[in-house]
């Protein structure tokens, strides 16, 4: 019984939150990796792109809510997502047309494009705060729990509760669908294969008659889709803070690099590695230890390796370790 309580405790406080957070990071990192694979630069504007897509989704959600539309127990934001995606696609295509394309035609190096993307990051971030303001926005509706801790305790008779929040279920489920769709697209469709070919060997792709402009366009569209979904899921799960997305850049880049930048499979794996590391390292194990040792040991402190205030440091440390030991990442990236 004690042992089951311990497992439930871990599931409730580590596995479910980390799987949720990992899904959000994986989708974000997939977008970063896609841009890196096709356009060959680290896109620092990705965090703010997520923020922008989420903002549009929130504003459409408000419209829907005031019109009385709802999705039952699921958040209305899911209905607003397609509009958010559409507007974000337009934003990224406009950025490409008016900003990136100029540098691409001049054969600018990856570093120059990276700095350009930092500029766009500030512009998009400013635009977002100009439109929706810098304060927090809560837009999650529907029911809060699929089942709550109290329901779980009543049903099982255990001391420990396990809650499944609606946003957690929606996040994990949506991420699974999106990731499957992206992989299907990259591996089975003609356009997807041409993107991988372009990412693998640009010159040979040209010789094969693959149109680089088209590949770049599709890459931006996919990036916008991934960014908007990732941002919205993150916002639903944690509330939407325009300033949070700049901070989110670090774990997202860490995920992409840990998995091997340019490698989509790596981005997913990296997302979960970072999420699980952050949460397991900042979790207080006091209760867990007393469960598994049958109350024999009662630790005095919280048995927490690192305060949650420092959770961002975890991804930073992992990033540094990976760059020192295996710079190509777990899945040796560089191509899609």
């Amino acid at each position: 019984m004690e042992f089951i309580n311990a497992l439930v405790l871990l599931t409730n406080y580590i596995i479910l939150p980390a799987a949720t957070y990992g899904s959000q990071l994986a989708l974000g990192a997939l977008g970063v990796t896609l841009v890196y694979g096709v356009l060959r630069f680290s896109n620092f504007a990705h965090g703010e792109t997520m923020s922008f897509g989420t903002m549009i989704t929130i504003m459409v959600t408000w419209q829907l809510q005031s019109a009385g539309v709802s999705l039952g127990i699921f958040p209305t934001a899911l209905l607003a997502l397609p509009v958010g995606i559409f507007v974000t696609v337009l934003l990224l295509l406009a950025c490409d047309k008016w900003v990136y394309r100029f540098h691409r035609q001049n054969n600018a190096s990856g570093v120059i494009l990276l700095i350009v993307s930092i500029g766009l990051m500030f512009v998009i971030g400013g635009l977002v705060r100009f439109i929706i303001g810098p304060q927090d926005q809560i837009f999650a509706d529907g029911s809060r729990f699929i089942f709550s801790a109290r329901d779980f305790k009543k049903a099982t008779g255990l001391d420990e509760g396990l809650a499944l929040r609606t946003t957690q279920l929606v996040t994990i489920f949506t991420a699974a669908i999106v990731v499957t769709a992206v992989f299907w697209f990259l591996n089975k469709t003609r356009t997807g294969k041409s993107m991988r070919a372009y990412s693998d060997n640009e010159n040979l792709a040209l010789l094969s008659g693959i149109d680089p402009d088209r590949v770049v366009k599709v890459a931006w569209i996919l990036t916008a889709v991934l960014a908007t979904i990732a941002g919205t899921l993150y916002g639903l799960d944690k509330s939407y803070k325009p300033f949070a997305f700049m901070q989110l850049l670090l774990p997202i880049f860490a995920s992409a690099i840990v998995g091997g930048v340019g490698n989509p499979l790596g981005a997913i794996a990296g997302g979960f590695v970072i999420a699980f590391s952050e949460i397991t390292i900042t979790f207080a194990y006091k209760k867990f230890i007393s469960y598994v040792t049958f109350d024999a040991v009662q630790p005095e402190g919280l048995v927490q390796l690192l305060s949650t205030d420092y959770k961002i440091a975890v991804s930073f440390i992992i990033l540094v370790i990976v760059l020192v030991i295996k710079p190509t990442g777990l899945f040796s990236g560089k191509t899609l």
Binding site: R190, K193, S194, R196, A197, L206, L207, G209
Partner: protein, 234 residues
């Protein structure tokens, strides 16, 4: 007038010219080989014919049409196939995907062409689902040639197809190249292994410092005492 000919080509990458009034051509169903010492501009001449080098003088005629102003990818559409010396396969993609990408510009059904390529290189059929980057050097070259054949080119240009492969594999590759030429495709290639290449060549070009030094049939060049002494090691 040859089927494909780069006439009096003069040009280079920067201000200095690499090619000086260089002429290279090939007929349908024939094999033309460009040989010469290191730095003679063999690959450069080939790239010039394919439009990867800006020409200051001269022109490139293909199938009775002046293609000098066309970009390399536009020449692919016209029916020219090019196999670069290095980085000539998509390493992270499977053999079959490499061939599919070769056929990217085709909107018709290319399965019969793929069957032809697999018939020509049976080992590729065996390894069709393996990433091309995991294959041996000789097999990679087969993928590279196969990829270029997928567009059903009228002329196939090969930049040192046997670079870095063993002598046995080299002989096999040459056999395959002869086989491809027999189907009516014109073949223009640059080769380091001058002797073996001239043996299978209908026409040979010996380049020195970016200019034509000797131009004759492969056989005649092999018999030419001067060529033998200077370029074929006696």
């Amino acid at each position: 007038m040859s089927f494909l000919i780069g006439e009096n080509m003069t040009g280079g990458y920067g201000s200095a010219d690499i090619l000086h009034d260089c002429t290279i051509g090939v007929e349908q169903g024939e094999i033309a080989v460009i040989v010469g010492p290191n730095g003679a501009g063999k690959s450069t001449a080939m790239k010039a014919v394919f439009g990867m080098l800006p020409l200051r003088k001269g022109r490139v005629m293909f199938d009775g049409e002046d293609v000098t102003a066309l970009k390399p990818e536009e020449r692919v559409v016209k029916g020219m196939g090019f196999v670069p010396q290095t980085h000539n396969v998509f390493t992270s993609m499977s053999v079959e995907e490499n061939l599919e990408m070769g056929a990217f510009i085709r909107t018709d059904d290319f399965r019969d062409t793929m069957t032809l390529v697999y018939d020509l290189f049976p080992i590729l059929k065996e390894k069709r689902n393996q990433p091309a980057g995991e294959l041996s050097g000789g097999q990679r070259q087969q993928v590279a040639v196969g990829r270029a054949l997928m567009t059903k080119p009228k002329v196939l240009m090969l930049d040192e197809p046997t670079a870095g492969v063993s002598p046995i594999v080299m002989d096999e590759l040459f056999d395959k190249i002869i086989e491809i030429a027999r189907t009516g495709i014109a073949i223009l290639m640059v080769e380091q292994n001058a002797k073996q290449a001239l043996n299978i060549a209908d026409k040979g070009y010996v380049l020195v410092q970016g200019a034509n030094r000797f131009t004759d049939t492969g056989e005649a060049l092999m018999a030419n005492a001067e060529v033998r002494k200077a370029f074929l090691g006696g």
